[in-house]
């Protein structure tokens, strides 16, 4: 974990309100796990004040890629930044997906919903590299929001769902999961909380790992903003911090 002013190599729109930002930095050498995130300071002044958590979508040689949705003030400011300038990044933060849990020859099903798709790309790369059979299921609101289908297709089979039916299968990622012909040995998922809950309840594989989102203050485990209960003690004092114990948890570990 370190802070670095990383230079923007490119910042381009890849779908409706979705941007792909490539940053140069020594920080990339410390990035190892898919599913880790960075905490980005989008403006020099104090509005917005806090950093923005964004998943690492791809770890490259000397650079790394993040993909974000232009949503509010912070991500809009990020979208306006041009090549060559630097961005203040703290990272890599958190614990990512346990790639070792998938064995060569096994089938891993990766489920991404909306801006939950980005960490799936680095994960798919790492799994494919070790000989795991990768199946990706990605879901979006509509065709205009679809991204990284082609990139994921280079690493395995890809299924797309859109809520409005404008592309791929109409419905949710879980509709595709329900009808999947192959049996998953392991499921990895990142996306909106209702999606994660459905995947946890669906019991699609012997092992399931989910990446959670929570509003963050510090992003490093110091402020107790992102705390959730554990499932074995749902009303008691046991807890996990999404930023430093997660964001990836095994299904059944925390209350979502």
């Amino acid at each position: 974990m370190r802070q670095e002013n990383c230079r923007i190599v490119s910042n381009r729109q890849i779908a409706d309100n979705i941007f792909e930002l490539v940053l140069d930095g020594d920080l990339s050498a410390e990035m190892t796990q898919a599913g880790q995130f960075v905490h980005v300071k989008v403006a020099d002044g104090f509005d917005p004040l806090l950093r923005r958590p964004i998943s690492i979508a791809s770890i490259n040689d000397g650079s790394f890629t993040i993909i974000y949705r232009r949503q509010g003030k912070g991500t809009s400011l990020l979208a306006d930044k041009s090549t060559g300038i630097t961005v203040d990044v703290l990272g890599p933060l958190g614990n990512g997906f346990p790639v070792d849990e998938a064995k060569p020859g096994q089938t891993a099903v990766l489920v991404g919903g909306g801006v939950g798709v980005p960490p799936m790309y680095e994960l798919a790369k790492q799994l494919a590299r070790k000989g795991v059979n990768v199946v990706s299921i990605i879901g979006f609101q509509s065709f205009s929001a679809v991204f990284y289908e082609k990139e994921l297709a280079e690493l395995g089979e890809v299924y797309v769902a859109t809520v409005d039916g404008s592309y791929g299968r109409k419905g949710f990622v879980t509709d595709i999961l329900d009808g999947l012909a192959v049996q998953a040995d392991i499921v990895f998922a990142c996306g909106p909380t209702p999606m994660l809950r459905a995947i946890e309840n669906g019991n699609y594989a012997p092992k399931t790992y989910l990446s959670l989102e929570e509003r963050m203050g510090c992003g490093i485990g110091a402020c107790f903003a992102c705390v959730c209960h554990t499932q074995d003690d749902p009303k008691g004092f046991s807890y996990k911090k999404v930023c430093s114990d997660g964001p990836v948890f095994q299904a059944g570990e925390v209350v979502i």
């Binding site: 370190r2 104090f46 004040l49 703290l90 510090c218 402020c223 107790f224 959730c228």
Partner: protein, 313 residues
């Protein structure tokens, strides 16, 4: 370094900069970034007799130049803090200020009695001003008589000096400050967060699960400066100032208002290296002001001695 060293009741500080309670946990995370021995002191997370889970999430929301938090004093409880967190901090050469909280007077007394025995705890900070808990907290901090009585009780059992953390959520802060001084407080820390709220346009509902939260960050700085200016002229105990500090210049402004040391809260989230950065930058600013020691600056905005050198950033 002596330019920055400060003596306060119980505290022999190598510099007057410390992270504020709740914004630094028990130091473990920040110790991965820099040597905690560089800090003047560490104000650790509030401790209650039993572990607390705190409020439901979302617990933070942003505002222009600030943030709202409703953590709800989540902490591992007295035993764990005493047996695990404080001993872990002993590896650093830095005095600890233990922030103590509770729902009843007995809670405060119990935590104060034990934590003041920890070898690296050099002072207590009575948190009678947390806006995010239903019982205790702010109830003690807004009633001068209750604040005074609680201070007195804690003073009786504490083995180290007691600082009382004042709430800005009152109409007359001087009144509370004087009551607490009467109760035997050795110092004051101010300010805690200001009660605030934000509503999400999409849902029409408050963003925080707790609905309201405490406002901190640069937007509260003028309130803190005003309150320290008023209080420091009316009490004779020292004040550790906080509220929106982002830079070494801000620290100086708190000193000029009447503070004798300064704590950095929210800015630790924005720039995790902010405390050592401020410590490094202070000597140059003090020199530019023509002062020989940082303590000369305390209360200069209201003390009638000669003017400081004209400051150019």
């Amino acid at each position: 370094m002596s330019l920055l060293s400060i003596q306060l009741p119980g505290l022999n500080l190598k510099n007057p900069v410390m992270p504020a309670s709740g914004c630094f946990g028990f130091g473990r995370e920040f110790s991965q970034l820099y040597d905690l021995s560089r800090l003047g002191a560490i104000m650790v997370k509030a401790t209650t007799p039993e572990p607390r889970f705190g409020n439901p999430t979302p617990r933070v929301a942003e505002t222009s130049g600030g943030m709202l938090n409703a953590i709800g004093l989540q902490n591992p409880g007295l035993e764990k803090v005493f047996n695990e967190e404080l001993p872990w901090l002993e590896q650093f050469d830095v005095p600890i200020i233990a922030n103590i909280a509770g729902s009843t007077e007995d809670d405060y007394v119990k935590v104060a009695e034990q934590l003041s025995k920890a070898p690296n705890v050099h002072a207590l900070e009575l948190n009678i001003s947390c806006p995010n808990v239903k019982t205790g907290g702010i109830a003690f901090g807004t009633d001068p008589e209750m604040a005074k009585a609680l201070t007195r009780k804690v003073k009786e059992v504490s083995e180290v000096p007691v600082y009382v953390k004042l709430s800005p959520n009152v109409t007359d802060i001087v009144n509370i400050a004087r009551a607490v001084e009467d109760g035997g407080a050795d110092g004051l820390t101010m300010i805690n967060t200001l009660l605030g709220m934000r509503i999400d346009l999409m849902t029409g509902q408050p963003i925080l699960a707790n609905k309201t939260g405490g406002l901190s960050g640069p937007s509260v700085k003028p309130v803190a400066i005003r309150m320290i200016y008023e209080v420091s002229q009316r009490v004779s105990i020292p004040i550790i100032g906080m509220g929106g500090i982002q830079s070494a210049e801000d620290v100086i402004e708190f000193f000029l208002a009447g503070a004798s040391a300064a704590a950095v809260g929210t800015q630790n989230f924005v720039d995790p290296y902010i405390c050592p950065k401020i410590i490094d930058e202070l000597p140059e600013i003090i020199a530019k002001l023509g002062a020989d020691h940082i303590s000369e600056l305390t209360g200069r905005s209201w003390k009638k001695n000669e003017r400081l050198a004209y400051y150019r950033p």
